[in-house]
Symmetry: C2
């Protein structure tokens, strides 16, 4: 009977606040009318605030992956050379999408669990004397591993190279600091179901002047993802096709919550939950996939103990304690489990999650000091006050 | 921003499941039509199931206190002598209502924190050779202290005395076993916002044949609380006046959840959460108001440590950790705090609550072994599997 009360500790979708859920239920309105114009202007301005940008931002009714595809088809033409920096599943996805649309994709892969090395990026771009590389694709927070790339360092590594810096910030934006303008990020993509605390179904892109100029010359066929068209419609307070009305009224409400907390406070909350999770797991003798220096504030990847299947542990947590943890993806499946601490989640929820992981470990026959993780997490909460 | 995510650990209102909240939002229907008749019949039958009774049950749009008043004005006539057994605030309230309507109230008070002694009840009724006492009023679960009276023992103590046994089961029914028919309870009252997991606004009464016979001769003026009238309307699938439609559609949904869990499982869950709370508080060196033998499965009263104001502790739990605890009432105000573990609450929520109490204690300068309560509670959860 408590399925609806589960602790949903995924790196998205995150729990949705009741007031946002209620805001999904407003009556339909005319999406070619004045009421919609006000709504679109309000949420667009709110998304700009969250992106820390003066750039235009465009909202598509789509998954985050749709935002990545929109970035590819607007800013990369068939035949363009792109440098795809990948540290995991979502870095690979960005590269794969670019390849599907005819880009010459050069991969720069780093070991899963590590961040991209800006020096390697700098070296590769320095070699590209003719400026053949048109775009650098990079993941801000790699959801599959729980590693955050250092965007300002990567931007710096690009030096004066003319390539666009295109950022997949789907699981970071709003949870971790991302200064679109100050850091000089040309294109930034995020999604609704992470720090924005919405159900899935919206993706947001910010585009700066340099990127708009590139888009104008883009040769990809496109209709749904046509950012230029969306920009023109936005000027008159509309969208090129029917918008996802409930998600936009939900977004209006979640932006109020986000503004109420403030970005700095939200970042600090996510960092606290990251530290609680990491220190608790260590106190229980578990190993973490990533180093502290590059650890994500949205999701933590933890190795299951030896001789314990990660998915069996997750099953115990879910079925016995109603805590939903994410599994590992691809080669990390059944090797790690991932604790999402993102979105509408508060520190005490992470205390409960850690308590459930402790119990699940014991259920799987792992000897631990029951309470050791919880106590460490409690101490961090108190120190954070 | 997390006010809506608070751990609402009150002995009512309890958290309401989202599907029940959604069921509050159905379109209005004609309360004199067939659709309403089906609704009323379905929820009435469900409430009978929860009451473990074949008696008629009547649903009023009112607080639990309204149900108590309905019991008084239907079954006690002005001038009637009643024996009001009280072990706390709500026992006193039942007595006070009877007094307001002209009953000669004889009080049988027991110390707060203790249960009623059936032997004392037996002795008093044995003295009443003429059968002047028309009703015995008793609280099943005294919410103000967290003590449960032994109803079968009190019924047995009444022996062959003809008085009605009228039970305030507002905070117990659905959380603790109450066998209306098997235990021979003449009138039982409960409310929506406790184990029924609804928002406040409904009260339920079960009435057996003996009580209906008494009601027929009752001389109190009444309209709103007229059970006879409600019974007649119920036969045609209606209510004497406008029913609280949203709460009835909500009740239909919460009864589905209750049936899905099953009464025995619900009782076991509440007992587990009681034991977790009690053992955790003891592990932290705190004193409990009630003995184990009479401890409520719905709410636990805990003495604040010496030199700590209970309300200051509650404030810390609420403001720093988003956990809402109940205070003491009347003479227990600022002396105890009460942990509600009732309704839509699961064991892991109580782990989080205990963690917050631990941290709040430290914030108030109390030296405790951080995690000692949590670990004890975790152990009980695991043992319960």
């Amino acid at each position: 009977m408590f399925r609806e009360k589960q602790y949903l500790q995924l790196p998205g979708p995150t729990p949705v606040p009741p007031r946002v859920l209620r805001a999904l239920s407003e009556p339909m309105i005319n999406h070619r009318g004045g009421e919609f114009r006000e709504l679109l202007e309000e949420v667009t301005s709110g998304v700009q605030w969250a992106f820390q940008t003066q750039n235009e931002v465009i909202i598509f009714p789509a998954a985050g992956t749709g935002g990545m595809e929109a970035a590819v088809v607007n800013f990369i033409s068939p035949g363009d050379k792109v440098l795809a920096v990948s540290i995991g599943v979502f870095g690979n996805r960005f590269a794969e999408i670019a390849g599907r649309f005819g880009a010459q994709v050069e991969r720069l892969d780093f070991e899963w669990g590590q961040a991209a090395d800006p020096a390697t990026v700098a070296q590769r771009l320095a070699e590209d004397k003719k400026g053949e590389i048109k775009a650098v694709l990079v993941t801000h927070n790699e959801t599959s591993t729980g590693v955050t790339n250092d965007l300002p360092a990567i931007k710096k590594a690009m030096g004066s190279h003319p390539a666009l810096l295109m950022v997949d910030a789907v699981s970071s934006l709003g949870a971790m600091d991302l200064k679109t303008d100050e850091w000089g990020l040309d294109v930034v993509v995020t999604g609704a179901q992470k720090a924005f605390m919405l159900p899935p179904g919206l993706t947001f892109l910010s585009v700066n002047a340099k990127a708009w100029a590139v888009a104008q010359k883009n040769t990809n066929p496109k209709f749904y993802w046509d950012l230029g068209s969306a920009r023109k419609y936005l000027e008159k307070g509309q969208t090129p096709y029917t918008p996802a009305l409930p998600l936009l009224t939900g977004l209006r409400e979640s932006l109020k919550l986000m503004r109420g907390e403030g970005l700095e406070n939200a970042f600090a909350r996510h960092r606290l939950m990251r530290d609680m999770t990491r220190e608790a797991m260590r106190a229980l003798g578990l190993k973490l996939l990533s180093d502290d220096a590059v650890a994500s504030a949205a999701v933590t990847s933890v190795f299951a103990p030896e001789r314990v299947e990660a998915n069996k542990l997750r099953k115990a947590a879910r079925e016995k304690y109603n805590v939903v943890l994410a599994g590992g993806q691809q080669k990390l499946d059944n090797v790690i489990f991932r604790v999402g601490h993102l979105g509408w989640v508060q520190p005490l929820d992470i205390v409960a999650t850690i308590a459930a992981i402790e119990m699940a470990l014991m259920d799987c026959g792992v000897e631990i000091a029951l309470g050791a993780g919880v106590t460490r997490a409690q101490t961090l909460i108190r120190n954070a006050k």
